[in-house]
């Protein structure tokens, strides 16, 4: 039974991957307006380049063949090259940039889970008081701050205006430091980007967790727990919080996947971290279509995969999920 559900989920994942790849393919190769060869070759490409692109991607053949050729270049032979940035092998470039994005998102995830738990539990513990209201308004503001703007303001203070003060004198110049080369430098380079990226999520997770805990407080088992004389702290942490964590975990899976798959793009750009998002952004500026296509495809496949893994974990962990 469980196996059947897992297989069904797997089939659904493959279907969605196919759908997304077909959609991306159609957007780039079959939208009217301009020649796909010209799009792939970049601005003002030489006629020879255009001819080579046309031959390479099989653009004179039917659309399904073109789709297969592109997918093969992306995932099987992985020999897609950039024409704007001559000689750049696209897939290795993406793989090389991945650790930067993962470092950024993992660290930020740690901050936003801890921060979200703290805000949510505190607000729920003193619900409807002034402290709760202030926390909720702050969370809402955190959600509303555009992350690219927050990054700019962080840079303005930490790199420029307050750089020579006690608070920010430790901040290194913008850019990424590999963990293996210098763990402390890695931490210093990423601390502010982590905080910047996590602030909005702390707001969202705090608000959702508070709402869930408050809702759980209405359940019968909470009344039973109170009737047994368990302390209020224990009721909150051991009973209400535990139930409220289920949607929290679901959201985390989705958001984590989405951040690795492109959501961290602006943060990488602002802080000069050369991850997959920065790679995508740079190729957007130079209209380097092969890179954009590849990073979009890899990133969205990662998101789909991450969501499927989260779902399957539920199937394994929660027997109730197996019936669907």
């Amino acid at each position: 039974m469980m196996l059947a559900v897992l297989l069904q989920r797997l089939a659904q994942m493959l279907f969605v991957m196919f759908g997304i790849s077909a959609l991306v393919f159609l957007i780039f190769f079959a939208t009217p307006g301009s020649d796909p060869a010209a799009r792939i070759a970049g601005k003002n490409a030489a006629p020879e380049t255009l001819l080579a692109v046309r031959h390479d991607f099989g653009l004179d053949r039917p659309l399904p063949v073109q789709y297969v050729v592109m997918m093969k270049k992306l995932f099987v032979t992985q020999d897609l090259v950039s024409f704007v940035n001559r000689g750049l092998k696209v897939v290795p470039a993406i793989i090389e940039a991945t650790p930067v994005t993962l470092s950024l998102v993992f660290g930020a995830a740690l901050f936003w889970v801890l921060g979200g738990l703290l805000v949510g539990i505190l607000a729920a513990a003193c619900r409807d008081s002034l402290a709760d209201r202030i926390l909720m308004i702050l969370s809402l503001t955190g959600v509303a701050i555009p992350v690219f703007w927050l990054g700019e303001m962080t840079n303005l203070l930490s790199q420029n205006r307050l750089h020579d003060t006690l608070f920010f004198s430790w901040v290194p110049a913008l850019g990424y430091v590999p963990f293996r080369a210098d763990p402390i430098g890695w931490f210093k380079a990423l601390l502010l980007p982590w905080l910047t990226l996590s602030l909005g999520f702390i707001g969202i997770y705090g608000r959702v967790l508070r709402a869930n805990i408050v809702e759980t407080y209405q359940e019968d088992f909470i009344r039973t727990a109170r009737a047994k004389g368990i302390s209020e702290t224990r009721v909150l942490l051991r009973h209400a919080l535990r139930m409220s964590l289920v949607p929290f975990v679901t959201m985390f899976g989705l958001d984590f996947g989405a951040l690795v798959g492109g959501g961290a793009l602006v943060t990488e750009v602002i802080f000069g971290l050369n991850g997959v998002g920065k790679l995508t952004y740079d190729s957007l500026q130079s209209l380097d279509l092969p890179v954009i296509m590849a990073s979009v495809m890899y990133a969205s496949f990662f998101v789909v995969l991450a969501n499927a893994v989260v779902d399957m974990t539920y199937v394994v962990l929660d027997p109730r999920m197996r019936s669907h």
């Binding site: 279907f15 009217p32 209209l287």
Partner: protein, 349 residues
């Protein structure tokens, strides 16, 4: 019912009792309006939004009558008089190697570069107001597109079921799993770099229609899925069963029983989707994938200010503050609208 759910022991207050008698006397719309009008923070949020909207609408008044500037053309040589002193809008740079220009900083006077100028000597205050027009226009029109498409898809899938539902649900699955920013990047890079000709309609790449369409489409699954679920639930509800039993034709059930219920859900989505769409528009414009230069939106101005961040920080700072105020207000308004239509929803996230 409307009292706060503290411990489940809260006694019904007199207001709660009034509302129950109201429920019989008034329709759901009047009830919602009544509840909304007593929600202080939602009213304040609405007021803030009205101020932002009116200020944006008055952008030409400011640009022409008060500041006397053209926010869309570069202004490299002009000078202004400030406190009896003649100042160039763009002075030669004194920092670094001395190459490039240093735009004038904030003067904090409404008639002369209140927030300073950007690198092309354009009045940032005037651009901020015009940018508000673009951002709010894109935010509201894309919300309208999202809601209309989502309602159509959700109602079709939920009401007709069968193969229509299966196909639409699969399409929604795909769009749902496609990360929104990547989807938007794909669409904008193709649409912004080609002129689109659909018969007699020609859409230029600088047209606001492009970001409106893109943002309107990418969020359809977020609304269509809950609508489909609601329609499915409604179809099994007693009053629809009763209508079917009475032999009421399907189109009448759709219009009289399903639509009014879906409509309140859609209204609850309006402010929240607007907040989401404004955030998306500013991010896309910041990435140069939304409103194109020389046009202005709040995201575009932050982008313009990026190279001036350390020397003229107000160019980027001001639009960010306006975005935050607008999005916070929309969210508070959204919570108010939701509570007004469905007080029980207060408990849910």
């Amino acid at each position: 019912m409307a009292t706060e759910p503290a411990f489940g022991l809260a006694l019904p207050t007199s207001t709660g009792h009034d509302e129950q008698t109201d429920a019989r006397a008034r329709g759901p719309w009047a009830q919602a309006l009544h509840r909304f009008s007593r929600n202080g923070s939602a009213l304040i949020a609405a007021l803030v939004l009205i101020v932002v909207i009116v200020a944006s609408l008055l952008a030409p008044v400011y640009a022409i009558w008060i500041a006397g500037v053209d926010p869309f053309s570069s202004n490299l040589e002009s000078e202004i008089t400030l406190g009896g002193e003649r100042l160039p809008v763009l002075a030669p740079s004194t920092e670094g190697l001395g190459i490039g220009v240093m735009p004038i900083g904030p003067t904090w006077q409404f008639n002369a570069y209140f927030l300073g100028a950007d690198e092309q000597g354009r009045d940032v205050m005037a651009r901020l107001l015009y940018g508000g027009r673009a951002t709010l226009l894109i935010g509201s029109l894309s919300t309208a597109i999202t809601l209309v498409l989502a309602a159509f898809v959700g109602i079709c899938a939920g009401f007709f079921g069968g193969w229509i539902d299966r196909i639409l649900s699969r399409v929604l699955d795909i769009l749902w799993a496609f990360p929104v920013y990547l989807f938007a990047i794909c669409l904008s890079i193709v649409l912004l770099n080609s002129r689109i000709e659909l018969g007699p309609i020609v859409i230029d790449s600088s047209s606001l229609i492009i970001p409106i369409m893109i943002i309107g489409v990418i969020y359809v699954p977020y609304v269509a899925r809950p609508i489909r679920g609601q329609v499915l639930a409604l179809r099994k509800s007693d009053f629809v069963m009763a209508a079917i039993g009475l032999g009421v034709p399907p189109h009448r059930i759709l219009i009289r029983d399903i639509l009014p219920n879906v409509l309140t859900t859609l209204i609850v989505f309006v402010p929240l989707m607007m907040a989401l769409n404004i955030a998306t528009e500013t991010a896309l414009s910041f990435l140069s994938l939304g409103v194109q230069s020389p046009g202005a939106s709040w995201g575009t101005i932050i982008r313009d200010g990026q190279s001036l961040l350390y020397s003229r920080p107000w160019v980027s700072t001001a639009p960010g503050l306006v975005i935050i105020v607008t999005i916070v207000a929309l969210n508070i308004l959204g919570d108010g609208v939701r509570d007004a239509f469905d007080p029980r929803a207060k408990l849910r996230p």
